[in-house]
Symmetry: C2
Amino acid sequence: EIMAAVGAALTEGPLKGRHVLVTSGPTHEPIDPVRYIANRSSGAQGTAIAAALRDLGARVTFVTGPASVPPPGGVTVVRVETAQEMAGVVKATLPVDAAVFAAAVADWRVANAAGQKMKKDGTGTLPMLEFAENPDILAGVAQMGAGRPRLVVGFAAETETVEAHATAKRARKGCDWIVANDVSPGTGIMGGSENAVVLITADGAEVWPRMAKPEVARRLAARIAAALA
Amino acid sequence: EIMAAVGAALTEGPLKGRHVLVTSGPTHEPIDPVRYIANRSSGAQGTAIAAALRDLGARVTFVTGPASVPPPGGVTVVRVETAQEMAGVVKATLPVDAAVFAAAVADWRVANAAGQKMKKDGTGTLPMLEFAENPDILAGVAQMGAGRPRLVVGFAAETETVEAHATAKRARKGCDWIVANDVSPGTGIMGGSENAVVLITADGAEVWPRMAKPEVARRLAARIAAALA
């Protein structure tokens, strides 16, 4: 990690002088002091992307939820737990040249989270969770006027009709690219070491072959460097 | 770990010839293919208890949810995800001489878990989760007639009035002992390296000083050995 950091500082890559924001990992949304809603994101893909951007010379701010893989060296790491915290850190990090939103942000938080541990009361009464929609970090940044990053990249984790859903998501969010993948349990992708992505741009859909997550990251970083050149 | 396993096999400790079941870790209750309800248990205390029982010569079956610490060596490890899976494995493991239920089992599961990822539909409609009560593993074993372990130990993770809640829990569940601790966020206990427990037995409440989780485990294992002697 120290060598990686030193390497990054010395790199004269195509992204030298660029500041790139990368979000990564899951968010945790509290139900009460001991319970929370989580998702199966390990943070592996976002971490690899941050490392690949660093290797091309970028200054990277890495905003990560509670991931199961450690953050890369040579980047500025900001740890958050909830979607609301992540939204606040992203806002505070702007302006940036490019933003890659690889985190699996919870769409909803629990609106009536309890201050004390919820307990069974013996009557068989079941908990009632009320939800509130979390801030849409991707759309918020993609639809900024002044100060919008030149390149805004979103992710789509789908379990069905991946390309159609992702193409619709790109239009709806107003971002430049969507990196879409199929996270159905059978694929082993969420939490696994490989990824099979479809890159959705203004030019349409590119289906990438299944490959290791660091290789997906290197390809994406190279595309980002080309887009910012 | 190999040395620990060899050590356990050779141990002539006070629990030699005894079979002890230990549950540990959180359970994860699926909401849809990518989201789940979790809790902050790291599995550290249950893992330390299994190791301490092994060191006293016991044959240990260790039933663990998705914990963040690795299971001990020299024990039989069975990995589960949900409370229902844990209940099934516990039932299949009986009879045992003693059972220590250190897992932080979810009280409720999502009754209407979705087969596909739940998506925002753009109308602002919020998800409705319906809950069902999970099997009460501790009470089920504690209230068995024939085949009940000689010693049944439950855990209570409380955030308020720990001793009173735990004493009531012992009576309600029908177990022999309750190991109670205060998991309020300020204590740093859930997910941390230390524990401050109150042991509730038929004789009343013993307040143990705050100490490292392995030390809590050694004390508890020694008490279990004495109870089974």
